[in-house]
């Protein structure tokens, strides 16, 4: 999907170490929607763990990892994440509460079962025209 604009939500010129930083980046797509993703460097992930005095990064939203925090590299990464209908840009920027996550899993189970039924009947498994969001997993 075409990227209309990319905005760095913190001044990129203020970055002291381009190999050790992260920032929020706002992306406007041609569909008129806005997505915010965090972009950061590998060294910065280590520093975040050091700040947290932890052996792992605390649970949180995914981070787009880049080699260095320069305008060119970040824009290149955002363009790549906007490919294929901006699948991964949407995924990295998604606000997924626990109910939504449960619904997504249930929808996948329902879809899989539906495909099994179609295969068993020897019918076409082109399911793009089927509405698979209106379902009850307990009736499967």
């Amino acid at each position: 999907m075409k990227v209309e604009s990319i905005n760095f939500l913190s001044p990129i010129e203020d970055i002291d170490d381009i190999f050790d930083d992260n920032m929020d980046v706002s992306v406007n797509l041609e569909n008129g929607l806005n997505y915010v993703v965090i972009v950061g460097t590998p060294k910065n992930l280590l520093r975040l763990m050091e700040n947290e005095k932890s052996n792992f990064l605390s649970p949180g939203d995914p981070i787009v990892v880049v080699k260095k925090m320069t305008k060119e590299v970040v824009e290149e990464a955002i363009q790549a994440y906007a490919d294929d209908d901006a699948h991964y840009l949407k995924f990295y920027a998604a606000e997924l509460d626990i109910k939504t996550l449960n619904v997504l899993k249930d929808r996948y189970i329902a879809r899989d079962k539906f495909l099994d039924d179609l295969l068993e009947k020897g019918e076409s498994i082109n399911i793009e025209n089927y509405a698979l969001i209106d379902f009850n997993i307990h009736n499967l």
Binding site: L9, N22, V36, E95, I98
Partner: protein, 241 residues
Amino acid sequence: MKKFSLIGILTFLILFVHFYRTFRKFRPSIIAAAVGITVYSSILTPASARTGEVDGFTPKTPLHRNNPKSDRSVFGPKSNSDGSGPGKPGDEPDDQPGNEIPNYPKTESVKKTEERVDSIKEHLGRMNELTDSDEEAYNEYKVYSKISSTLSKVSYKIRKDEQTSKSLDKLTEELKDGQFHSGRGAKKLAGTKTVYYMRAGNQGRLFFRYSEEEKGAIEIIGESNKPKEQEVIDNLKQNYK
């Protein structure tokens, strides 16, 4: 050393003359004198010099001590410094008063020390960045809400998500303690000079600025999640420079 050589030569000559008078033979007299001088010099030379451990001028009593543990120095056990610097006697549990041999901690490489110093500098740099040139750093801040009515509605809506609400509460507590690096770190808001924001690992974003009226006080001026972040930022940019 010169004096020692002269005595040796003289002793050799005396021995040679003595043996020559006794035996009346030249070669055996030289050999006997040489053996005699060798035995003589071995008796005079100190044992430590023969083994080659130290030179002949090292005093037997050391002039300095490597273990200053009884002194009231910064490295002594009575020092209140609890820093983790390298090479400090007293850091190791075995370094008890009365131990004759000090148990020094493992040494740290120069590179590692430099890295640690850089890391400290960096943290201080970030703290300075967040406290503006005019702002003093405090251990604790008085934090209060100064969210506009427009942004209060956004805050109310996004706090309907329990996780986001929890993360914003946590960020507020960390802001009070001046822990600007928690979560994904604090940043200055692009396009402003006075607005900063802290970011939780999940959706929570807490926008703040230093109070102009009260020193050591911070005003929370906005809360958002990621989907509402751009909207809140646009509003803040209109209202704060």
